[in-house]
């Protein structure tokens, strides 16, 4: 507790703001979400097109759904997609990158070619292709898997070059002479250095995934009953919410996406500043 307090005292404003915003979203997505509530997808739960009121803080949709709860579920689902994609992408990317960079030789060549391939394949068309055919069975998880397919290559490439530059560092040799094997060297020696980078990559990947899902939703290719930020925008657009001035319905998912990003962005930059202050620069 003491250390938390001390940490808080020493952090800069953007880290504080970032932490706060991110925490709010995490709480909304993973705590508030589990509070008992009616299924927000159900039509006609309430009268449609209500303006914001104390009962419906963000009003209701044309289909008589509560926008606030719709938003909360959307945050949950989109965060889930984002986190799954980011986790798979970052873990796979970091691991493959580290392995390629550290092991070198033939394995490196093979892994690099595969990584490069995934970098040069344009992702959005392939995503459209995959989802347009997989629709029948597509769930949050499958959706995330498809998105993850393209999320690992870039971090992998970055981490590889990081690992390459680290390969000749003395402490890697020390580790080897201490009896560590390749995997252990990769995991316990190099990974900690790639960790900060991976963390920011993780955050960026979360957002990219959420954004990609939105694009697919707008193309009508997200599962029809998946409440996500993208689908919410799409539904609102579908019911002409922009021109009927149902701002809370169409606006809330957009602003949420933006604020979520800004939160994470502040968190990353703030954290970096904090670290550099800690390093004494």
């Amino acid at each position: 507790m003491e250390s938390v307090k001390k940490f808080w005292r020493n952090t800069n404003l953007s880290l504080k703001a970032g932490l706060l915003l991110t925490a709010i979203f995490i709480i909304i997505g993973f705590v508030v979400y589990f509070l008992p509530h009616t299924n927000p997808f159900t039509f006609n739960s309430y009268p449609g097109k209500l303006k914001p009121s104390s009962e419906h803080l963000l009003g209701t949709t044309s289909m008589g759904q509560d926008v606030l709860w719709l938003l909360i579920e959307a945050i949950h689902n989109s965060l889930m997609i984002g986190l799954i994609v980011a986790t798979i992408g970052t873990v796979a990317g970091v691991f493959i990158g580290l392995l390629a960079g550290f092991s070198g030789g033939f394995l490196d060549r093979v892994l690099t070619v595969v990584t490069d391939t995934f970098i040069v394949i344009p992702s959005l068309p392939i995503l459209i292709l995959m989802t347009s055919f997989m629709k029948g069975s597509s769930t949050v998880f499958i959706m995330a898997l498809v998105l993850a397919m393209f999320a690992w290559a870039w971090p992998s490439r970055q981490i590889r070059s990081m690992a390459l530059s680290m390969r000749e560092r003395d402490f890697i040799h020390t580790a080897w002479f201490s009896g560590e094997g390749t995997i252990q060297v990769v995991v316990t020696e190099i990974l900690p250095y790639a960790f900060t980078w991976s963390l920011s990559n993780f955050m960026n990947a979360t957002l990219v995934a959420i954004a990609s899902e939105s694009s697919l939703a707008v193309l009508g290719l997200s599962p029809g009953n998946l409440i996500s930020l993208g689908n919410m925008i799409q539904w609102a657009r579908d019911r002409n919410a922009i021109f009927t001035k149902q701002w809370f319905w169409i606006g809330s998912p957009i602003i949420t996406t933006a604020v979520m990003f800004i939160g994470l962005f502040l968190l990353i930059t703030g954290y970096n500043d904090y670290l550099s202050r800690k390093r004494g620069r």
């Binding site: 560092r169 003395d170 402490f171 040799h173 020390t174 580790a175 080897w176 002479f177 201490s178 009896g179 560590e180 316990t188 020696e189 900690p192 250095y193 960790f195």
Partner: protein
């Protein structure tokens, strides 16, 4: 089998250098021969200019670089014999100490993990407890203790302390040979002595041989039994430390000795500074000739051969000084 601990036989190593279209080659280690006896542990110092190939040679001994030419034998086992190579045994026999103690350990790990890894993964100790005892003993021999070291990150040590942890780590396996690449360069004067004294002690106590790479000739003189001088990748002089340093036979060694900033005698004359590396590396005749005050026509035409003196020292020069050959 053999009474030699380490035999470096005609070892060469070259790198490509320069820009994208350059075909320049830099022979970082050129046909070097050195032996270390197995019977009596020794401290062999390797000295020479920056960039003369000292680290490269060390890395080859440590198997961190491939050899281009020649062979290295450790306890009679050839490095070329890839089948017979046992990485496990190798790490028991040879251990490194690196120049910069802060570079030798990851900043994000506590240093004791390296110690425990060495003890457990190389199967010196059977279990954690035993490993702890062993490590404690070893740390005590370098003037530290497990209690002091445990749970600390590299930044929480002074350079000297950390270097001693590094040495202790190398000692855990009771290796036959420790390769210390500039172990005291980053350490200030008052700590330096403690470390070289430790080397001496370890040699006597644990029968460990050292290859001690340094720029600091005074400590090299102080601690080593043998000394090898490298110049632009070539071994130019080799022999017992005291004799060589008191009476250098190669002009470069002499230059080296004169360049030591000694307390008590001030420098007077100017000296010729080296040219850019790649130019000097490319020289086919005696590489020192352009800077040698004694150089003759012959020196500028052909390469000298290695001459062996009575007292066992070897010199690569047409006209060795203080000639006893």
């Amino acid at each position: 089998m053999s009474e030699k601990l380490l035999e470096i036989k005609n070892v060469s190593k070259s790198f490509h250098i320069g820009g994208m279209l350059s075909k320049k080659k830099l022979v970082a280690v050129d046909d070097v021969n050195i032996d270390i006896d197995d019977v009596r542990p020794v401290i062999l110092s390797i000295v020479g200019e920056s960039g003369c190939g000292k680290s490269t040679l060390c890395k080859m001994i440590l198997r961190l670089h491939d050899l281009d030419q020649g062979d290295i034998l450790l306890s009679g086992r050839s490095y070329k014999d890839r089948k017979g190579y046992d990485a496990f045994q190798f790490r028991l026999d040879v251990q490194p100490i690196f120049q910069n103690p802060y570079e030798s350990f990851s900043m994000r790990k506590t240093v004791d993990t390296y110690l425990f890894n060495t003890a457990l993964r190389l199967k010196i100790a059977k279990n954690y407890k035993e490993a702890g005892e062993l490590i404690d003993d070893t740390l005590k021999s370098v003037g530290l203790s497990l209690e002091v070291v445990k749970g600390k990150y590299p930044t929480q040590f002074s350079g000297g302390e950390l270097q001693r942890v590094s040495i202790a780590r190398a000692l855990i396996t009771r290796p036959k040979l420790i390769i210390a690449d500039e172990p005291v360069a980053a350490i200030d004067a008052s700590m330096k002595m403690n470390i070289v004294n430790l080397f001496k002690e370890l040699k006597d106590k644990y029968k460990v041989s050292f290859i001690y790479v340094t720029h600091d000739l005074s400590t090299a003189y102080y601690v080593s039994d043998y000394i090898a001088t490298l110049y632009r990748g070539c071994l130019i002089e080799y022999g017992p430390a005291k004799e060589i340093m008191d009476n250098p036979a190669h002009p470069y060694t002499e230059l080296l000795m004169n360049a030591i900033p000694r307390v008590g005698e001030k420098w007077d004359q100017e000296l010729v500074m080296p040219d850019t590396e790649d130019k000097e590396y490319a020289i086919t005749y005696c590489k020192f000739a352009p800077r040698c005050p004694y150089a003759t026509e012959e020196c500028r035409k052909s390469k000298p051969d290695m001459k062996t003196f009575d007292d066992g020292r070897k010199v690569l020069c047409f006209y060795p000084l203080n000639s006893k050959a």
